[in-house]
Symmetry: C2
């Protein structure tokens, strides 16, 4: 079992990574002073519920917790205001009070949705993450919670830190292969933005990671969480440094928005976005090596490194204009300098992005 | 012109009270470092827009601000998730970025709605209040923003402090008489919970206040804001002291919920709630004087001190069960000790509330 602390002063919290943790979930809640005197709301999706809900409920109910379960449909569509309102209704009907906690059992979608419920129910109650995907190693650290607006992803949200992240790596065994690969996209990103030796370790351990060998997996998750936790500790509300975590996300979010939150899953979209950022960096004079290294790493994990030509470039540009990173007619971009190091550049023009998208599409032909 | 600072460390902000301030609104924004380089969203309601929008827009546009206006229907119904989503759509279409501000021109409904948009758009942007009601002297201080859920008032919200409150008392002249009276309800509450001499001053100046004489009005607003600001400074997120501001609100919110957010306006509902709290206090052994003093003060302002018998008692009790102040099967209540002093009592039973409601109804016959 590995334990890591996200250091945020009085909002610090532990991330516990290990096998079989869901079977004793209640113990960890009680350790965090979450009392069984107030009702809990557990939010999960239909797929995760069928696989992992039973052991969590058993543990909680045996420990005297009163738990109401809200099951949403699996997929990005559940990050909507309509589903948010349904979960809120459940929370009210369940009689959650100021001491209650909302538990998110699932991946990034469930975490973001349940977290936004926790952030806004009675103006904020306690929140616990039980991630069941690799990708959630990223979203479960840092307190960014949100739902989507039809016009832009993650546009409606808050900063709301969990009190505990309980990461049972046994749940990852049930992930489909595509989700496994996509899940490593954010882990690779953490190497690319901060830690060249971790990036090299990822490349050297592709096989073990794709086979979900527990030791490599737990180490990779811990290191990925550690980079994120370090960045978030230094800049909780994204006034500066934290923006480096957006590597690949500007183009990535646009791809998700235009392709309809479905053709590409999140990890795939940001893999393409990271390639796009490398292309912009190279066009601005960086050594082509950074593009080649990024590409090799992502390709080794079977992640896409080009964009399907049918995705409309001008629609992508339109989506960028609604992005949070669009400011004063220029786009803020995170660009790689070399593996393990990035810079935040605030004067990227739409034409530079158009050129990069063109290259991403040609690559696919 | 009177200026008051709400002291919240790095989230401190000024409340400026005076005549004609809307005509020079842009100056005050610029003083708060709100730049005209980012778009603004101004949220108001149809009634306020017809009376007070033109001078604000003129001032802002002359100063080079790009302003998008979102006009919602007047009334509590606009504090819904559906209207919240509409305003969000406007904000996205207007291209608001992280440096943008949301301005609320109106009363408590507009302030709460626009504030929740500001709190959650891109996980939180700047917020400015331009109150146009007396009641808003209360809601514009303290950063509580929210929308209603069909099952409970203010259930979905956040703490999000404004950066500036600009209180143009000239706007109050256009208030209907009923809103004027109801507006004084929270001002009286601030005397009742904290400042007996201010409560006495209110009683001695009923005539000037109801006639909206500028000097009495500005003094009353300043003192009301000052009590609230002091309480909020000591306990921003309602972990303790801040709860005293809920005097009258537990029964008051239930009345609003059951009577359908309309038969009684907010100030009237909490006036009845304050009488209800006094009745519970007296039933628990406090001197009947506190009930009589509360009643005299509210009656002098023409506020209701009894409850229409057709409002169903058990429906009120049902609404209380969904209230944020219901915890471990008891209700937390703020009870008066004497004028200017209250206590927070956490063991009020439903029967005590039933009895008080019964008395409130008999009073009306």
């Amino acid at each position: 079992m590995r334990t890591l602390t996200v250091d945020l002063g009085e909002r610090s919290y532990p991330i516990i990574i290990g096998r079989g943790l869901l079977n004793t979930a209640a113990e960890y809640l009680l350790q965090q002073s979450i009392s069984n005197q107030s009702s809990l709301l557990l939010v999960t999706d239909d797929q995760v519920a069928s696989l992992h809900l039973a052991p969590v409920l058993k543990s909680l109910e045996e420990a005297g917790f009163s738990v109401t379960v809200s099951i949403v449909k699996s997929g990005e569509q559940s990050k909507s205001l309509a589903v948010f309102e349904e979960v809120m209704t459940k929370a009210i009907e369940a009689g959650l009070d100021r001491n209650s906690a909302v538990l998110a059992l699932g991946g990034g979608v469930v975490g973001d949705l349940a977290g936004f419920v926790a952030a806004t129910y009675m103006r904020g109650i306690r929140f616990v993450q039980l991630p069941t995907t690799i990708l959630a190693h990223d979203s479960s650290v840092g307190g960014k919670v949100a739902v989507n607006h039809p016009l832009a992803k993650n546009m409606i949200g808050a900063f709301h830190q969990p009190e505990l992240v309980l990461y049972d790596v046994d749940t990852l065994k049930t992930l489909p292969d595509r989700e496994v690969r996509a899940g490593y996209s954010e882990m690779i990103k953490h190497g690319l933005i901060w830690d060249a030796s971790f990036a090299a370790w990822c490349l050297a351990h592709v096989t073990e990671l794709l086979e979900l060998q527990p030791e490599a997996l737990a180490y990779g998750l811990e290191q990925g969480c550690a980079v994120k936790a370090m960045v978030v500790s230094q800049d909780e509300r994204e006034n500066g440094l934290r923006a480096i975590l957006n590597l690949g996300h500007t183009i990535g979010h646009a791809i998700e928005a235009v392709a309809g939150y479905g053709e590409y899953v999140h990890g795939e979209a940001i893999a393409i976005g990271m390639i796009g950022s490398a292309l912009i960096a190279v066009a601005r004079g960086r050594d082509i090596q950074v593009y080649e290294d990024t590409r090799r790493l992502l390709k080794a994990f079977g992640l896409p490194v080009s964009l399907s030509p049918h995705v409309d470039t001008e629609q992508l540009i339109g989506a960028l204009l609604h992005d949070k990173k669009f400011k004063n007619n220029k786009i803020v971009f995170v660009l790689p300098i070399t593996v393990g190091q990035v810079e935040i550049v605030s004067d990227i023009s739409l034409d530079e992005v158009r050129n990069a998208i063109g290259q991403l599409k040609r690559e696919a032909i």
